[in-house]
């Protein structure tokens, strides 16, 4: 094992190399590009024995990954924002085809207005695609998650593609020290990919992605739904196994910070969990029993784990870095749905913050916690509040 200072993007590339990925098909887009540049370097130097297909679009990147995975190879791509939307048809195809592709999504806002900065609307727009969606907080977790993603994807109880989501710039371009596992350790955790169990085997002809009439289509979709349920267990098992190997565990589907006796918690996903944790430390020093619930997986959505974690809490602040106009925000809605059947329903207030890369500070999180506790005490409806909006919500009609 060695310890290096690397960026989030380098951590993805290193994870891909350690996972002995066999086919990479990718197209450049900011802030993802550094990942595929690094992988190209590994391939050119002979450090990674893979075929690198320099495709002419993101749509073809995912199509080529689908072809490669159908051909039995371990396949990887990375993208962001417009690139993810452009390949969206193929993203859904990979899910439906049950191909264990791994894709790094360096999350970035959607245009217009044009923005290269971070928010989560790109990845979350693909939430019904049949992809497992994992979210990292640190450079170390990006590296570990990339390797773990292949184990989850290729598990025969899962066989679903996996997205590793990391915040654009905030994580992709942040340099942090990370422990780099030995290749032999990764090999024991993730053996080299065999062309199995379903592939375009020339000795056993089969037809894939055929047409299904109304009498068979639903069963295919049900199998996909079941596989996603299985992923809940497999993600946790893989996290535990990784911990036995490296000593690092991230808590499976949900990472809880100071939640044991918490009366209020901030719930979010992504790198800004670090700022939320800092806010919680400050609040704790002032006597507020606060915690952070970080979703490591948004698909499968950790309904049961979430109910267990928030049991006994008074209030939850769900902070979305995304927007669903008319809803108005994604995690807020999903968390509320997940907790609807709780015996003692926790108060859930929503916040929209950090869209298009707007900075969100520990101070903002402290205000979010206070606003949530105030809403809880006053018995107000837990509607969604915008954070850091210039002129405030009333100033924008």
């Amino acid at each position: 094992m060695s310890r290096l200072v690397i960026s989030g993007n380098e951590a993805v590339a290193l994870g891909v190399k350690l996972s002995r990925v066999q086919v990479v098909a990718a197209y450049p887009i900011t802030p993802q590009t550094a990942i595929v540049e690094k992988i190209a370097e590994y391939v050119e130097k002979g450090e990674l024995r893979a075929e690198f297909i320099r495709v002419e679009s993101e749509h073809s990147a995912m199509a080529a990954c689908i072809g490669a995975a159908a051909g039995g190879a371990r396949a990887f791509t990375a993208t962001s924002s417009q690139g993810l939307l452009y390949m969206s048809e193929m993203v859904f195809w990979a899910g439906g085809a049950r191909l264990p592709i791994v894709m790094a999504v360096v999350t970035r806002a959607l245009a217009p207005p044009w923005s290269i900065w971070c928010d989560h609307n790109d990845a979350l727009s693909q939430r019904d695609s049949g992809w497992v969606q994992l979210w990292a907080e640190s450079v170390q977790e990006v590296l570990d998650m990339t390797i773990q993603a292949f184990r989850v994807a290729e598990d025969e109880e899962v066989l679903l593609p996996v997205m590793v989501c990391l915040d654009g710039f905030i994580l992709s371009h942040a340099y942090e020290p990370a422990d780099i596992p030995e290749q032999s350790a990764v090999d024991s955790f993730l053996p080299e990919k065999k062309p199995a169990p379903y592939w375009l085997d020339p000795s056993k002809p089969a037809a894939y992605c055929t047409i299904a009439a109304p009498d068979t289509y639903m069963e295919f979709r049900y199998e996909m739904y079941r596989a996603m349920k299985n992923a809940e267990r497999v993600i946790k098992e893989v996290d535990e196994e990784w911990c036995r190997l490296t000593g690092r565990s991230y808590g499976g589907l949900v990472d809880c910070y100071r939640c044991d006796d918490a009366e209020v918690a901030i719930l979010l996903c992504g790198a800004w969990a670090g700022d939320a944790k800092e806010a919680v430390d400050i609040l704790r020093r002032k006597g507020v029993k606060a915690g952070v619930v970080r979703l490591r997986a948004t698909r499968p959505f950790p309904t049961e784990d979430l109910r267990a974690v928030v049991e006994g809490m008074d209030a939850l602040a769900v902070v979305d870095r995304s927007l669903s106009p008319g809803l108005p925000s994604i995690l807020w809605s999903e968390v509320r749905a997940a907790l609807y059947d709780s015996v003692k329903r926790v108060y859930v207030k929503g916040f929209i913050a950090g869209l298009g890369g707007r900075d969100v500070t520990p101070g903002d999180f402290i205000r979010i916690v206070h606003s949530t506790l105030e809403g809880f005490r006053r018995g107000e409806p837990g509607e969604v509040e915008w954070i850091g909006l210039r002129g405030g919500e009333s100033g924008h009609h």
Partner: protein
């Protein structure tokens, strides 16, 4: 060249494309697929773009394909094939698995229009694949809409022959010209009325390492509106009127493989098909004349290219 035949009797009898599929009576696709699977030697994997061939041959749980087959939407068969080819390169290196030939079938919509970018990318990158466009000259699977491959004057549901606009007003794209501009080593046109010519061209394409493009005239009795028993006759007339020249491009040289010294008038081809029938009315003579000019111009260009290659 090894593997080539002189008569249809020498074409292998083994069928890798099973009967029982749901393609229309008289459809031009099965003669193509049967001959391709006979002519490409050794292991092969087939990619099929969304279209008539895909929907009619793989209705779950049935399949007509006795080779590994995959469908990955409409516009990206060539990109999908790129990934499959890369996977088999790795399997060959790491596990000694013999690399199959990747064969792609796309219709004219999936090739000329929505799939052109993915095809261009795959040709430029040089993946080892045979890309075959079965060109029935419109979006037939969705019910006969005009494509970039529809010939001038043809009526489709989105270019109906009306009093103001008598059918499609634009010229057909030159697909092989586009493919050849990418630097492919082999490209050729195919026609079901000339099975020996077709078989031998596929054998040549299969022998090339790298991308090759084959362009097949695929008569469609449903969309072109002719009697399904006359598919081969219609196809032959396309060649004899020079509407569908049979030629090949090989390493920089063009060769007309079926020389048509005395062409039949294009009316002989047109009058058999409902899609062109309005062109025979006197008020539409100008469209017919334009179509004739398209055909003459292309043939003359081909003759020049072929004679320059001698």
């Amino acid at each position: 060249m090894a593997g080539q035949v002189k008569s249809i009797k020498e074409i292998p009898r083994e069928e890798l494309f099973a009967p029982g599929h749901r393609l229309c009576a008289g459809c031009g696709i099965p003669p193509l697929v049967r001959i391709v699977l006979k002519a490409v030697p050794g292991p092969k994997v087939v990619v099929t773009a969304t279209g008539c061939l895909e929907v009619a041959t793989t209705i779950f749980p049935y399949t007509s394909w006795r080779v590994p087959w995959v469908h990955n939407a409409f516009e990206n068969a060539a990109a999908t094939a790129s990934g499959i080819e890369a996977a088999f390169r790795i399997l060959e290196k790491k596990r000694g698995i013999k690399r199959p030939k990747i064969i792609v079938f796309g219709g004219d919509g999936g090739t000329f229009d929505i799939g052109l970018q993915a095809l261009s990318g795959a040709l430029e990158r040089g993946h080892d694949m045979i890309y075959i466009c079965y060109d029935n000259e419109a979006y037939m699977n969705t019910g006969i809409q005009r494509s970039g491959a529809t010939p001038r004057g043809a009526a489709t549901t989105t270019s109906p022959a009306g009093r103001v606009i008598p059918g499609k007003m634009e010229r057909k794209k030159d697909l092989l010209g586009i493919a050849i501009a990418h630097g492919v080593r082999y490209a050729a046109t195919l026609n079901p009325a000339f099975p020996v010519d077709m078989y031998n061209k596929i054998v040549k394409a299969a022998s090339v390492e790298g991308p090759t493009v084959l362009h097949y005239l695929c008569p469609c009795p449903t969309g072109w509106r002719f009697d399904p028993s006359r598919t081969i006759e219609v196809a032959r007339l396309a060649v004899m009127t020079r509407m569908w020249p049979l030629y090949e491009y090989e390493d920089g040289r063009y060769r007309i493989t079926v020389m048509v010294k005395k062409p039949r008038p294009i009316e002989d081809y047109i009058k058999l098909q409902g899609r062109f029938r309005h062109l025979l009315q006197p008020e539409n003579k100008w469209v017919l004349d334009q179509l004739r000019r398209d055909v003459e111009e292309f043939w003359e260009r081909l003759v020049r290219l072929a004679s320059a290659s001698e």
